[in-house]
């Protein structure tokens, strides 16, 4: 995984609550067996009409936001299925930061495995950021968002921060605990399936 870098970009405001993973990447696109190439399916049913022409009223189709790396959305973002394809689509499209008042648990966890930083902020701050047309800077190292007028601190678990900043391979980290895992298995009461 690539280490997470400071992100400077204008925000893409997505003024919706309960954005579910079926909207982020609809089911007909889950059949690929690789991780790349999902960006073109991001928010597919909101982005395109039945003839696959871009819908002019959807925010991603406004060229102003073409190079935005920061998505700012409503409450309970990423609810629904566990499909990591949702995160792959956001990342492949070009987002590296998602800001919302709250996130669904599995989606939140999936973000960190793919170098995306999800940030929870108060509703009022989120609404203010959605109105901000100037570029903002997200600095993970110092846990601060700089806007043209404000400095907004944010919280993140230190373990997750380290993983993002160093782009660590989770599994290699876990292998350091091999002796503990083997020890656990020796006393486990739950039998094998076979």
């Amino acid at each position: 995984m690539e280490p997470f870098k400071k992100t400077l970009s204008i925000v893409t405001p997505l003024d919706k609550v309960n954005v579910d993973t079926d909207q982020i990447v609809p089911k007909q696109f889950l059949k690929l067996v690789q991780k790349s190439g999902f960006g073109k399916f991001l928010f597919f049913n909101w982005r395109y009409d039945e003839n696959e022409n871009p819908k002019s009223d959807f925010v991603l189709n406004n060229s102003k936001y073409n190079n935005s790396k920061i998505l700012v959305a409503g409450d309970n973002f990423g609810c629904g299925s566990s499909r990591e394809h949702a995160v792959w689509a956001l990342q492949d499209y070009g987002f590296s930061v998602i800001i919302a008042p709250s996130f669904a648990d599995i989606f939140f966890s999936n973000c960190f495995k793919n170098g995306i930083l999800p940030i929870s902020l108060d509703q009022s701050i989120v609404e203010k950021l959605q109105q901000d047309s100037e570029p903002i800077e997200v600095d993970l190292e110092n846990q601060i968002i700089k806007t043209s007028s404000d400095e907004i601190p944010f919280k993140i678990d230190s373990h997750k921060k380290k993983i993002l900043l160093e782009g660590l391979d989770d599994i290699a980290q876990t292998y350091q605990f091999e002796d503990k895992i083997s020890e656990f298995e020796k006393q486990s009461k739950v039998p094998s399936v076979l």
Binding site: D15, K16, V17, N18, D20, D22, Q23, P26, K27, Q28, L30, K31, L32, V33, Q34, K35, N45, E50, G74, D75, N76, C79, G80, S81, S82, R83, E84, V87, S102, A104, D105, I106, S109, N110, K113, N114, D157, S158, H159, D169, D170, I171, T174, Y175, F177, K180, I181, F184, E185, S188, K189, V190, P191, S192, V193, L194
Partner: protein, 471 residues
């Protein structure tokens, strides 16, 4: 201070525990399917890693398998590739697979319990959010993303933040348990606590209203925990649990000694502390019908579609969501639910496609024909459910009524296979999600119980099944 059932299972699975931050948790059972696993196996290959415990890993194909004749080739090339990829991955990594022709094939959350793979007190994961279903057996079971699937394949563990325990008490007795079902209980809960009400928690369902339920009904409740945002939902095991799992194909040989241990250990202590609590009284609840685009947008069958103001109770964002939902669903506020006409009926999914669900639905159908304006299908949750139902003659009852009787799979719950709604079609569905486009682009889903779906098929619109004789 005492511990909750969830905390006991969690503590018993800590490999590396820390005061703050995530703990390394051991996983006892890993269920794998074709959609969320290919990239995980690829990751293993790229790093030259093995599956640590193939003997704790079980795979099946359910999400995009066709539900038509199993002898026919799979026409959708991409589905076919995904299915072949799972076959190859299981072969290469030594994992037991119940493939499309296996008598054990079915929706992963239906076959786990049926085969005795799901066990009380165990930790179970799968790359599917409805893994919470297995919590009905007092297991800590939850959905994970593909990176975590890879992590579990490689290490049989996961780094996890400890969720908070949430107690949901279901009190009282339903007056007509054939008409007011487990589905109506769980939809009522979600309607009350909201789709984010359980975020960051593991729900323990307790109380008389839960103890009264069969194992299959408890699975329906735990299945939809994720629709309230909870990481998992569970029910303390009791004699019904132990009886259900006894003598199944993969039930462990030392089962009775395990049961002795579970009887002693798998319950919340009296002085256990829950971070959150909610109580639902079920004496007078009605059958539920969802009207919007998330499972929290649900009302009684006797009610009318609410106005965005009534639904949102002053929350501007919720109001906007409700307006959008009514627009998508093409419904006017004030319309009686019973006046909503439907085009399709789907009885299936990991929520409601077990034998009991089909038995209950068949009572509504027996001797009748579905409305000529409706197309209806039954997709049994597993090949085993299908076989048992056929031995009881249920298939005949459904086909005589003009229902289609299909092979097992996830089918129209998420429409990854050819079973989908056309744009604008309205469906009474026993599945778990009514998200926009979930069952087909432009399709409109109303979540209901199997008996409500069956009654809607006959009448062409929703009806209150309490008016029918279902005994």
């Amino acid at each position: 201070m005492g511990k909750t059932l969830f905390e006991k299972i969690w503590d018993a699975h800590i490999v590396v525990g820390k005061e703050i931050g995530p703990s390394l948790i051991y996983i006892d059972r890993h269920l794998v399917h074709e959609v969320t696993s290919p990239q995980a196996f690829d990751g293993l290959r790229m790093n030259n890693r093995k599956v640590r415990r193939p003997d704790l890993t079980i795979a099946t194909m359910d999400h995009n398998v066709p539900t038509t004749d199993r002898g026919l080739p799979i026409l959708d090339q991409t589905s076919s590739i995904q299915i072949q990829t799972l076959e190859k991955n299981c072969q290469d990594f030594g994992i037991q697979l119940f493939d499309i022709n296996s008598p054990n094939q079915g929706i992963v959350h239906v076959i786990g319990p049926q085969l005795g793979i799901t066990l009380p007190g165990s930790t179970i994961v799968c790359g599917d959010s409805h893994t919470s279903t297995h919590g009905a057996f007092g297991a800590l079971a939850f959905g994970i993303g593909t990176s975590e699937v890879e992590h579990v394949l490689a290490s049989q563990t996961l780094w996890l933040e400890k969720p908070k325990p949430f107690e949901i008490r279901v009190e009282g007795k339903r007056k007509n348990p054939h008409a007011v079902t487990a589905k109506d209980i769980v939809l009522s809960i979600i309607k009350n606590i909201g789709t984010g009400g359980g975020t960051g928690t593991v729900i323990e369902y307790r109380g008389e209203g839960i103890e009264d339920l069969s194992m299959e009904q408890r699975m329906t409740i735990c299945n939809m925990s994720i629709e309230a945002g909870a990481r998992a939902g569970l029910v303390a095991p009791d004699e019904k649990t132990y009886d259900y799992l006894r003598g199944r194909q993969y039930t462990p040989k030392n089962y009775e000694s395990l049961v002795d241990y579970w009887r002693e250990n798998l319950k919340s202590d009296n002085d256990a502390k829950f971070d959150k609590k909610f109580t639902l009284h079920i004496d007078d609840i009605a059958p539920q019908v969802s009207w919007g685009t998330n499972p929290g947008m649900t009302c009684d069958v006797t009610e009318t579609v609410p106005t965005p103001d009534e639904f949102s109770k002053g929350d501007a964002n919720q109001k906007k969501g409700a307006e959008k939902a009514l627009d998508y669903m093409d419904l006017e506020a004030g319309t009686p639910i019973e006046d909503i006409k439907i085009d399709r009926v789907f009885i299936g999914s990991c929520t409601n496609a077990r034998l009991e669900d089909l038995i209950e639905a068949s009572k509504v159908i027996k001797g009748q024909k579905i409305s000529p304006d409706v197309r209806a299908m039954v997709v049994p949750g597993s090949q085993m459910v299908k076989k048992q139902a056929e031995e009881m003659g249920l298939d005949k009852i459904f086909t005589d009524a003009n229902f289609e009787w299909r092979e097992a799979g996830c089918s129209m719950c998420l429409g990854m296979n050819p079973d989908i709604l056309s744009p604008g079609e309205r469906c009474a569905s026993t599945s778990n999600r009514n998200f926009e486009g979930r069952q087909g682009t432009g399709g409109r889903t109303h979540l209901v119980s199997p008996v409500m779906a069956a009654a809607a098929a006959i009448n062409g619109h929703f009806v209150d099944v309490r008016k029918m004789d279902l005994s």
